[in-house]
Symmetry: C2
Subunit: 269 residues, 2 copies
């Protein structure tokens, strides 16, 4: 689970040619070696440990302390099967010791406001939806970092947005809420792949002072061809081609997200 | 910076009455003791360490490996003053050793797609904006957790959304991008407050199997009255009242976010 050597972790992310910054403590390596794990050992995570991880999630920063997220854990086997089915039936959802549906939740603060005589008319703005998504993601990632410190691995499930209506129904979500992503947690199986996925060079992502539209992708397409081929997938396809297919054409069921949000009272105005 | 004792950290978050889960390793405590720090020691963070932290950020999970975020660091003193001014002139932005503007950035993948002959027509959907916000927030929070492991503190700046047009201009952001939040990093000053902000009880945020609309806030309003008063602020005002004011009435300049996004090619359809 944990990288031990910063330089090694760096080269796995950025390629063996990328000069490693000097003087970075090796303790940072463990934050560079995150990977999605989809095969779990036959080892429980106790409810007390999970409570500790939820506490970590809640300790993340939250806009104006509004805490506009909630999480629903799904452990009952019938319900787990059902939510897996709603998320493209990914096997790790069936098998993970714990599954969490992270939700943007503006309803709790709306109710609290109404209870003190305020009318929460601003919550349908794009601003508050943005805040809710940020809150949910900051919480989840602190939970993931905390879990990794205990050797627990994770896999985010974007497919929780495949059928937002059915997820609402299954989890009993209120108005002003949406299941935004899932998260599987479990100790990694011995068989779980240990591959670290290469990322774009820092030059493509980190700009100093001003954004540079001419920066480009550097050698990333070539690095990703090598990576996909090492994983036995997509021979000859590079990142631009793979991503291009993803962002062109039809969205499929996720077209419904906009309408769902509006019906939930989150009009993104 | 670091909590050493899980039970102590738990009680600071949830109140001294809250039963501490048993058997949770103390190493989780450091993930519970996050706080926003607004006063920094006179101590630099080297560019190499920052490169290590950006690598941590890039190592967070990202939807379909699309990496739909970018970050712009603002170190030049004139530019820093200007971005501080755009963010309600918060003093920590002037003073932080490093300031980062985290951006949702769908333009990089759009250009990469176009370069291989794909037409990225799906990117104006609410789905992709959501993915970009999630990507940016996961990255930032892994950066913050990595920084904390080195004793470096942070403060998120939601006010980066106060004037999204001016931020675009100052940072030279392209189409399909928005500055979504800022992040200050620095070693904490001796004078920096060490207060841990209480959070909602887990019962209010974590639901098992199904959401429960009747769950309520427990003792949170009372705990927050005590906390605000201990900080010399808002005497007699509770969380519901404070939050209610925040989510009712006018959004002010953040009303413009929706229009800005549409003009940027992110129509949230």
């Amino acid at each position: 689970m944990f990288g031990e050597n910063f330089g090694e972790a760096w080269r796995l992310r950025y390629g063996s040619e990328s000069p490693v910054p000097g003087g970075v403590p090796d303790q940072l390596a463990r934050f560079l070696t995150h990977r999605s794990v989809r095969a779990y050992a036959d080892r429980e995570i106790s409810r007390d440990i999970v409570a500790g991880l939820v506490a970590a999630a809640q300790s993340a920063a939250t806009s104006s302390n509004l805490q506009m997220w909630s999480v629903v854990s799904v452990q009952d086997s019938d319900r787990r099967n059902e939510i897996a089915r709603l998320c493209a039936d990914q096997k790790q959802i069936h098998e993970a010791p714990w599954f969490f549906a992270f939700c943007v939740d503006l309803e709790r603060v709306a109710r609290a406001s109404e209870a003190v005589g305020e009318n929460p008319t601003a919550l349908d703005a794009a601003e508050f939806y943005t805040m809710g998504v940020v809150d949910a993601a900051l919480a989840a990632e602190r939970m993931v970092c905390a879990a990794e410190s205990l050797g627990i691995a994770s896999c985010y499930i974007g497919a929780l947005r495949n059928d937002v209506y059915a997820v609402k129904k299954l989890l009993g979500l209120p108005k002003r809420a949406i299941g935004v992503f899932g998260l599987c947690l479990g100790y990694p199986a011995e068989s779980a792949g240990a591959e670290i996925k290469p990322r774009l060079s820092q030059e493509s992502v980190w700009f100093e002072e001003v954004y540079d539209e001419e920066r480009g992708l550097g050698d990333y397409d070539e690095r990703m061809v090598e990576f996909y081929e090492s994983q036995g997938m997509n021979p000859g396809v590079n990142w631009s081609q793979r991503s291009g297919r993803r962002v062109s054409g039809e969205l499929g069921s996720r077209e419904a997200i906009r309408r769902f949000l509006a019906e939930q009272g989150l009009d993104l105005r």
